[in-house]
């Protein structure tokens, strides 16, 4: 008789699993953010990398310490805190004092994520709330844009007059001044938050995520399409509106955050349309030049309701017995 094995692992089926796990998904998001980081480093210099690394370190540290204080399992290995840190850094002006960035990381990780129960439980995207809190709390530093010779001549032109406040394309538009060309906007030779400037690099990252099946195209496509259509309705240049501000970063990396976006494809389309709608309403009618983060935050809060509305219909016969 053959050798006996009596100590085998007994587990419930399935005994195989798809290769993607939480850590690999988060790693893919980090990889997808690299092109945008590269463009930022080219345009803004080494400070872009310093700010990103600091934000990642702060976020991971806050995650670690708050899990420790709350006596919960350590979760920094899933890389979700690192993703939050990098995305938050992308939402900040490159010259923002590091301690302010740390405050943003604290709000993102501790207040929004861990107090609500950690990964999967947060009601809003941590990076967005971190950005909004900083934007409201440190209004001045959060709107002090860096201008240098690598940027579009349109931006350099205002540098002489008003070096800080009006330097983003949306700011220029609001002030009724000459804006950069669409090609400059697309490539990212403009001023703005650190990671949002280059639409080209962000789209590249988005394509990587879609190919790797990390995100579904539903949210980015419906978000961007809504912005484009509404730009036409309001008589604005759609290419400019798509490339300006945080639309690309928001649509590809922040609105697609699993935890705070709907679970079904139809829900995701509604979510994306809502984000686009609020973004354009804020841009056109509100006092802020940019509204992407507010739009996404609003839709984050509506997500549970969208999920309830777009629940899949169970595969079963129509009422009244067997369908023939």
């Amino acid at each position: 008789m053959a050798e006996r094995h009596t100590n085998l692992i007994v587990a419930s089926a399935p005994h195989v699993a798809a290769p993607a796990n939480t850590t690999s998904i988060m790693r893919d998001v980090l990889i997808a953010l690299i092109p945008a980081l590269a463009v930022s480093t080219y345009v803004f210099g080494i400070r872009a990398i310093i700010l990103s690394v600091c934000c990642i370190i702060f976020c991971v540290f806050f995650e670690w310490i708050s899990r420790k204080i709350m006596k919960r399992d350590n979760t920094i290995g899933d890389l979700s805190a690192a993703v939050t840190g990098l995305i938050l850094a992308f939402n900040l002006p490159v010259r923002l004092p590091i301690w302010m960035a740390a405050v943003g990381c604290f709000i993102a990780i501790v207040v929004v994520k861990q107090i609500f129960g950690g990964l999967g439980q947060n009601f809003a995207n941590p990076a967005i709330v971190g950005r909004i809190a900083l934007f409201i709390g440190f209004a001045g530093p959060m709107a002090s844009w860096v201008i240098n010779s690598k940027m579009s001549p349109a931006i350099l032109a205002v540098a002489e007059v008003d070096a800080v406040t009006g330097a983003t394309p949306l700011g220029l538009l609001a002030a009724g001044q000459q804006v950069p060309t669409n090609l400059e906007m697309f490539l990212g030779l403009i001023s703005g938050s650190m990671g949002e400037i280059s639409a080209a690099a962000l789209i590249l990252g988005g394509i990587y995520l879609i190919i790797r099946k990390v995100i579904s195209p539903a949210i980015p496509v419906s978000f961007l399409a809504t912005v484009a259509v509404l730009s036409l309705v309001f008589g604005l240049d759609p290419i400019f509106q798509l490339c300006a501000g945080g639309v690309m970063l928001g649509a590809i990396f922040m609105a697609t955050d699993y935890v705070t976006s709907p679970i079904t494809t139809s829900g995701r389309i509604i979510f994306g349309i809502g984000c686009g709608l609020f973004t354009m309403l804020i841009r056109v009618y509100a006092s802020y030049p940019e509204g992407v983060s507010f739009a996404i935050l609003l839709m984050n809060i509506l997500t549970p309701h969208i999920d309830r509305l777009t629940r899949h219909k169970t595969f079963k016969p129509a009422e009244g017995g067997a369908a023939k």
């Binding site: 053959a2 006996r4 009596t6 089926a13 005994h15 798809a18 796990n21 935890v259 595969f315």
Partner: protein, 434 residues
């Protein structure tokens, strides 16, 4: 057919390493341990005692239950003992231990049955000892015992959508003609006008073989199924081949369908032709540590360890042995258990393949929702289960879950979703009893 809805599913790595391999007959082991409950329904009572001489195909266990299938000796030799032992299901059950003489002598009772009526046919189906070989082990005779003419579709399940397993594939290629004869027999006696053989697209040779044999026969169609798990699930294959929707708690019969696995049809036909009942079963032996992965025809009651030994043994210490496919099969605690009628694969794993799932928090990614073939909302069901919210579980139709494991397969947080749902279903059943 104009299907309006495409059922979801999941692309699982096929890992059909043994595809194209012929089925080898294993020589009789020294001893077989034949369990007395190998089907859903009533267990059988032993009809022999220690010391009795038995031959292949001799009736050794039977039951008077309406839903049951008799059990026959798989070897010729001497009954050594009637013992109480552990079965694959982890239960203690009566088994008959037979010491083989290696001669494989057929019993005198093995003669082709004479079939002149529907009753004869059902009796033959019962005497064959055939049960649902796709894994459900529902006695064939009970399944076929319907009012003749009341069903208009016979669906033959040749999907074999689970990774690794290739026995049905091998059977379909080797015994195409016998299977078709079996189908025609069932259609004839049950007065079923149409039959569909559903085969997943990754077995083009099987599809071609059937098309060749069936040329000119318009009553039996071959339906190429999409290569997506779980096409072989009963409710899915009915919908894919006929467009009919079978609900939870409904039998395929209610939708005018009978579904049977190809191997079951073949075994039945084999009995009708030769009189040899179900005494052996083809299984795929595979996994990352088997020396010679292959398809083996194994006498019922052979120890799993003997089967592995026949396949050259294992390269390394096994961590996990799975009976059936990796998506829905059962992991067994030890390898000194007997092969039963409904087994289709013995998969041995170690290393990464045998790693236990380490569950992390749900990140709401929606992969489970996108893959559920029944269009359920696994993420929501999991949450309702955690809250023990029976009302929400019912509202989320947890009872429609067919335990295919697609959701748990894709879950990046590695949550044991279908395992939770099994408990959730029990909770709902319990609550609805009150």
């Amino acid at each position: 057919m104009g299907l309006t809805k495409r059922l979801n599913g999941v692309h699982v790595d096929h890992s059909k390493n043994t595809a194209g391999m012929a089925i080898k007959r294993m020589e009789d082991p020294e001893k077989v341990y034949i369990p007395m409950s190998q089907n859903i329904g009533a267990p059988c009572k032993p009809l022999v005692k220690a010391g009795d001489a038995v031959k292949v195909g001799q009736l050794i266990g039977d039951s008077e239950g309406r839903i049951s299938a008799p059990i026959h000796s798989s070897v010729s030799g001497t009954v050594e003992a009637v013992i109480q032992g552990m079965t694959q299901y982890g239960k203690t059950d009566t088994s008959i231990v037979i010491k083989s003489d290696g001669k494989r002598e057929l019993a005198d009772t093995v003669v082709p049955p004479e079939i002149n009526s529907f009753e004869d046919f059902i009796n033959a189906a019962r005497d064959s000892g055939v049960v649902g070989l796709g894994g459900a082990s529902f006695p064939m005779a009970a399944k076929l015992n319907i009012k003749p003419g009341s069903v208009d579709y016979l669906i033959i399940n040749g999907a074999e959508c689970e990774p690794y397993i290739t026995v049905d594939h091998a059977v379909m290629v080797t015994y195409t003609r016998d299977i078709v004869d079996g189908i025609r027999n069932i259609m004839k006696w049950l007065q079923i006008p149409n039959a569909v053989i559903g085969i997943e697209g990754n077995k083009p040779d099987a599809i071609a073989a059937f098309r060749e044999v069936l040329a000119g026969d318009s009553a039996i169609k071959v339906h190429e199924l999409r290569q997506i798990y779980p096409q072989g699930a009963e409710r899915v294959i009915i919908y894919e081949t006929t467009g009919r929707v079978v609900s939870y708690g409904m039998l395929p019969l209610n939708a005018g369908c009978i579904v049977s696995n190809v191997s079951s049809v073949l075994k039945l036909q084999h009995y009708i032709k030769t009189g040899v009942p179900l005494v052996s079963k083809a299984v795929t032996v595979d996994g990352n540590i088997v020396v010679n992965p292959q398809n083996v025809e194994v006498p019922i009651g052979t120890m799993i360890s003997d089967v592995i030994e026949y396949c050259g043994g294992l390269k390394e210490e096994p961590k996990k042995i799975v009976l059936g496919g990796p998506m829905m099969g059962r992991a067994i605690p030890r390898d000194d258990l007997a092969v039963m009628k409904a087994n289709s694969a013995i998969l041995c794993f170690n290393g990464d393949f045998a790693q236990q799932r380490k569950e992390t928090a749900c990140i709401n990614c929606g992969r489970c929702v996108a893959t559920c073939p029944m269009s359920l909302m696994p993420a929501k069901i999991s949450r309702a289960f955690k809250d023990k919210d029976v009302e929400a579980l019912m509202e989320l139709d947890v009872l429609y879950c067919m335990d295919c494991g697609s959701c748990a397969y894709v879950c990046p947080a590695r949550k044991p979703l279908n395992f939770e749902f099994r408990q959730a279903k029990a909770m709902v059943m319990e609550a609805s009893k009150k």
